[in-house]
């Protein structure tokens, strides 16, 4: 399967049979209400513009749930958590978690979407912000091969609890000394925004692969 990073939390997973799944599409044409505008602000950004089969959403914030205005094209299925579903040979399941550290839950919940395709289990954490996963959540998530996560203080706990083989940093993740300090860090920012994975060829030791952004954004 192929995994491509657009920007923010939007990835496209293309399975071997050609089923396309896009995670958390963001509002490409977002204009901040507050002035002054950010330095990279541009009025006409291009949309994602893909024709996926399934969209998974972690939660309803504008940088994670925008399907309108040509951002996502065609007719597609939506998965936002709840009961596990299978569609075109791909299994979807969702585990509910907190957006913020427990005790500061003013942003409510996010769904940790787990996508199982070609024998690989991919987790997308959305805006997950708990300090640690509860034991119940770890049990429900099960084995995780590839983890897409924003970069923050929750990452070491996620690595310890889920033991993923590959981590794809996302959502304003930037390479800094903190990220370089992790074992298995690989810099792909100058090489490619797309990687190919196979179950047999997953690395035995954990790798953190920082992909290249294939889209610019105002976010």
């Amino acid at each position: 399967m192929k995994i491509k990073w657009f920007n923010v939390s939007a990835f496209m997973i293309t399975t071997e049979k050609g089923v396309k799944i896009i995670t958390d599409p963001f509002a490409y044409n977002y204009k901040p209400q507050l002035l002054p505008l950010p330095p990279n602000f541009e009025k006409n950004r291009p949309p994602i513009g893909e024709y996926p089969d399934v969209i998974t959403l972690s939660h309803g914030h504008f940088d994670h749930s925008y399907v309108g205005a040509g951002n996502i094209k065609g007719v597609f299925k939506l998965y936002t958590g709840g009961a596990p579903k299978e569609y075109k040979g791909v299994k979807f399941s969702g585990v509910t978690a907190y957006h913020d550290p427990v005790g500061h839950n003013h942003h409510g919940f996010v769904t940790l979407n787990v996508i199982e395709a070609d024998g690989i289990r991919i987790m997308h954490t959305g805006d997950y912000g708990q300090k640690r996963l509860y034991d119940e959540q770890v049990t429900q998530l099960g084995r995780i091969d590839i983890m897409m996560t924003a970069w923050g203080e929750w990452v070491p706990a996620l690595i310890e609890q889920l033991k993923p083989k590959v981590i794809l940093p996302m959502h304003h993740a930037r390479i800094d000394d903190y990220m370089r300090g992790f074992k298995g860090f690989v810099d792909y920012t100058s090489k490619s925004s797309e990687l190919e994975f196979a179950k047999a060829a997953l690395p035995s030791e954990m790798q953190i692969i920082m992909l290249k952004q294939s889209m610019e954004t105002n976010l």
Binding site: Y30, V67, G68, T80, G82
Partner: protein, 307 residues
């Protein structure tokens, strides 16, 4: 009228008395002469309308109005279509500090759906993450069959104006047919239809039309569009109400002015469900709830909000 049938009334009062002890025969005699009137769908309908008591049957569909432009349409075989789910509370769509008004509609709360139609890219129309289940999202112009229902989209436009949040001036009119009833949801249409668009839309039984005026059809244009499409039932939407007190929108009363057949069921009494069926002989639409019959010509129905 079956509601004035003395035997029915006797039966109803007998049941009410027996539930509350049934000791006061005197009060029964007193009340027996009084008129009982109900608004909307209520227990009275369940007793007087045999179909209602049995449950939905035949080609009967249900429509509910969630506020803004959002409708839930349930077909007779239980397929659920949600049109234009909206964002009820969020800093991006509802900048209270900037404009000073609040959206009091409840969110859809993960209402399950089989198909969600999206007309335009505003968060008042495309907030799909409030919908539950694993629906298909339909927002294109190519005809597509989803869950046995054929959907068509007709390209149209918003008003061309500076939009504060997301610039999205395209609009898709969604047409579909459920149990033989042709439904057309105009989304956030902002202009009169061209002849070509009228031809593409074709015959319409139930028309959902925005009448708010701001970013959508002004009332005069909405009347024109109703004339162009000539539906049997018009469901106005996207208007100012106590739930969304936006001063730049128009109240629904302005659209109802001068209309002959108006059926208001937006009081807080009764069910929020509207039920429709197709008369198999005349191929005309009939309302089975709340009103048993439709007058000739176009009827405007104002449904109540679900929450």
């Amino acid at each position: 009228m079956a509601g004035n049938n003395p035997r029915r009334r006797f039966l109803k009062q007998f049941l009410a008395l027996s539930t509350f002890g049934g000791a006061s025969v005197l009060s029964f005699k007193k009340e027996s002469g009084s008129q009982i009137s109900f608004t909307g769908t209520s227990e009275a309908d369940a007793m007087t309308n045999p179909d209602y008591a049995i449950g939905r049957s035949g080609n009967r569909i249900t429509i509910e109005y969630y506020g803004m432009s959002c409708f839930l349409i349930v077909s007779s075989n239980g397929k659920r279509i949600i049109a234009d789910p909206f964002l009820a509370n969020g800093a991006i769509y509802q900048p209270q500090k900037v404009k000073g008004y609040k959206l009091l509609h409840s969110e859809l709360r993960k209402e399950p759906a089989d198909v969600v139609t999206v007309s335009c890219g505003h968060y008042g129309h495309c907030y799909v993450s409030s919908v539950g289940g694993t629906p298909y999202i339909y927002k294109i112009t190519e005809p597509t069959e989803l869950h046995g229902i054929k959907f068509r989209g007709v390209a149209s436009r918003h008003l061309d104006m500076t939009e504060p949040i997301l610039k999205a001036s395209r609009n898709i009119i969604i047409c579909f047919e459920v149990d033989g009833i042709k439904i057309c949801h105009l989304g956030s249409l902002g202009h009169r239809l061209t002849d070509d668009q009228v031809k593409q839309i074709g015959k319409v039984d139930i028309l959902m039309i925005p009448v708010g005026g701001y970013e959508t059809l002004p009332v005069a244009d909405a009347n024109d569009v109703c004339t162009q499409l000539d539906p049997q039932v018009v469901l106005p939407m996207n208007y100012r109400s106590e739930r969304y007190d936006n001063p730049s929108w128009a109240y629904v009363d302005e659209f109802l002015k001068g209309k002959k057949n108006v059926l208001r069921s937006d009081s807080n009494i009764g069910s929020s469900q509207l039920e429709f069926a197709l008369d198999e002989k005349t191929k005309r639409l009939k309302v089975t709830s709340p009103s048993p019959s439709l007058a000739a010509g176009t009827t405007v129905m104002v449904p109540r909000f679900v929450y």
